[in-house]
């Protein structure tokens, strides 16, 4: 019924995940720490992706201006 689809921005392979049944406070705290670190990394990566997308579009516009008009 539940799913592990975390969606969101692309992220690196995460730390080893405990079984869904492992819900002791220690296991949860460890997992929260690891996944929060992943989320932070994904957030940082989003900015670089955005800059790359802007570069691509700028490149396309320049190409259009010079060769396709």
């Amino acid at each position: 019924m539940t799913n592990d689809d975390t969606g969101g921005a692309p992220r690196p392979p995460g730390p080893a995940r405990p079984a869904p049944g492992d819900r002791t406070p220690e296991a949860l705290a460890r997992r929260a720490r690891d996944l929060t670190r992943e989320d932070r990394r994904a957030d940082r990566r989003l900015l670089w992706w955005e800059l790359l997308v802007l570069l691509i579009i700028a490149g396309l516009l320049v190409a259009r201006w010079h060769w396709l008009l």
Partner: protein
């Protein structure tokens, strides 16, 4: 006379570019999302913040999905002794009471079944019944409000609760994703793509701006203090109780946070009639909210002094550019057509610049959507490409490669030098407006014997045009003061079944 004509043309030129405002505003939001890293939303505060959480589920005839929903919730990665589920049965006429009795028996103390004998007043009334029960004792430190058919990711709840470690945060919302997966159709894939832009992207941008427009009705987490400050009740006077709650939370000086990594799958309408009903309700709700908070908009300085950013210029621009989309598109088309009749060359130049602007926005939004949620994008890439409609996509391609297409248009006689009017060009200039009634016709056909014509017509007109047409209908209904009815969207439970 000549001066008057020039003035008229200049005004028309400005209005033409107003047609690009909704897309440009969307792009502004997309440009902000990369800055979320500087908001430090995901700082590791104390490992895991796990308040005692009561989950509130309003249910009307939800028997087919309830067992899966409740069992799924209880299996979330969250300490079992810190999670309770309260289902408020809104006078269901199906086996919901029996299903709930069995669940309460199976999980004593963790699952509560409340029943309203006289229901049908709407979701907010149902929620208030449950909220009264939850706030009666001091067990719950946080309350998660969700729909009966949504499916939480295993880690979604603690990802949401981690923000509550910050005492300034009053509520958190998650990323609702269209959950039909392979069982979906082109309409659900349109919605899946729409949610990348309208939720994953737009709400990240709102995090950056420090103001969130709406807590998703299907997944909103509140602190107890926030709910108590709101009077322990959700608003029952509008069709948008979730947006009112969001505004009230922020007006009271508490922050609302969107967590794009806490994901929730929801079942969305798979046919046009259901989608229209749902979006009409949302659009009318937003119009009601706009009126209700008329003293808040564009009051930047005062608003900041009061501890919220609802009055900021950018937030107002985002809110109103969306609400004014149909008006802006109609004004833009009308100006282009006027110029086409009076000054061909100027009309063609403006049309070209307008669509180059649209093309840049379209490319940026599409590429960023692919980056933000690649998995959903892989499923809905075709719908993403034709999201503005096939006709608009063709115009975008022609605009992108004028060196290739202008000679072809010339040869076809679409760009006559003698100033004569060509009906095809007239339709192209007016397309931003024409696409709206066309999308509306698609919706009308969906409920008739000609329903097979609805999808191709929608592809032609565009999903965005359908939403704009729905907004026009909402304006009309609000103007007529049409009765406020809570039409529940039909759910089949396919999301839960698919997991």
């Amino acid at each position: 006379m000549h001066t008057l004509k020039e003035i008229l043309h200049t005004v028309a030129e400005v209005i033409v570019f107003l047609g690009a405002v909704p897309l440009v505003t969307a792009v502004l939001q997309f440009l902000l999302i990369g800055l979320q890293r500087f908001r430090h939303l995901y700082e590791d505060r104390d490992g895991a913040h796990l308040p005692r959480t009561a989950v509130l589920i309003p249910a009307w005839n939800e028997a087919p999905v309830l067992t899966a929903s409740v069992e799924g919730l209880l299996a979330l990665r969250y300490p079992p002794d810190r999670l309770r589920v309260v289902v408020v049965d809104d006078a269901s006429t199906d086996p919901t009471p029996e299903v709930m009795r069995e669940l309460a028996r199976r999980h004593p103390g963790r699952v509560v079944h409340l029943r309203r004998e006289h229901g049908g007043q709407g979701k907010a009334h149902t929620l208030n019944h449950g909220l009264e029960h939850v706030l009666r004792d001091d067990w719950a430190e946080a309350v998660l409000v969700m729909d009966a058919d949504v499916v939480f990711d295993h880690d979604a709840l603690w990802r949401m609760t981690r923000h509550l470690a910050d005492p300034g945060v009053g509520a958190v919302t998650a990323y609702i994703k269209e959950g039909s997966g392979r069982q979906g159709n082109s309409l659900t894939r349109y919605i899946a793509y729409e949610y990348i832009t309208a939720q994953a992207a737009a709400r990240r941008a709102q995090n950056v701006l420090g103001v969130v427009a709406c807590l998703a009705g299907g997944a909103q987490l509140h602190t107890r203090a926030n709910l108590e400050a709101l009077g322990g009740r959700f608003d029952t006077t509008t069709l948008a109780e979730d947006t009112v709650t969001t505004f009230e939370t922020q007006l009271a000086g508490r922050r609302v946070v969107f967590d794009g990594y806490a994901t929730v799958l929801a079942e969305e309408p798979g046919e046009l009639t259901g989608l229209w009903k749902q979006r009409l309700r949302w659009a009318r709700g937003n119009l009601q909210v706009t009126r209700r908070y008329k003293g808040v908009w564009f009051r930047g300085r005062t608003a900041r002094g009061e501890g919220h950013r609802l009055g900021s210029f950018l937030f107002g621009l985002i809110w109103f550019s969306l609400l004014a989309t149909p008006v802006l598109l109609i004004a833009c088309s009308a100006s282009l057509v006027l110029l086409y009749f009076t000054d061909h060359d100027r009309a063609w130049t403006l049309f070209h610049y307008l669509w180059v602007t649209n093309l840049v926005c379209y490319l940026l939004i599409t590429l960023m959507a692919a980056v933000i949620d690649p998995r959903t994008f892989r499923r809905s890439w075709f719908e993403a490409l034709i999201y503005p409609g096939l006709v608009a996509t063709v115009i975008l391609v022609v605009t992108a490669l004028p060196g290739v297409f202008t000679p072809l248009l010339d040869r076809a006689g679409l760009l006559p030098s003698d100033g004569s009017v060509h009906p095809v060009m007239l339709a192209v200039y007016a397309w931003l407006t024409l696409s709206m009634p066309l999308a509306w016709i698609a919706k009308l056909l969906a409920g008739t014997r000609l329903r097979r014509l609805a999808p191709p017509l929608l592809h032609l007109a565009g999903y965005g045009s359908l939403l704009a047409a729905c907004l026009v209908a909402a304006y009309v209904e609000e103007k007529r003061n049409a009765e406020l009815t809570w039409d529940k969207t039909e759910k089949t439970g396919k999301v839960a079944a698919g997991q």
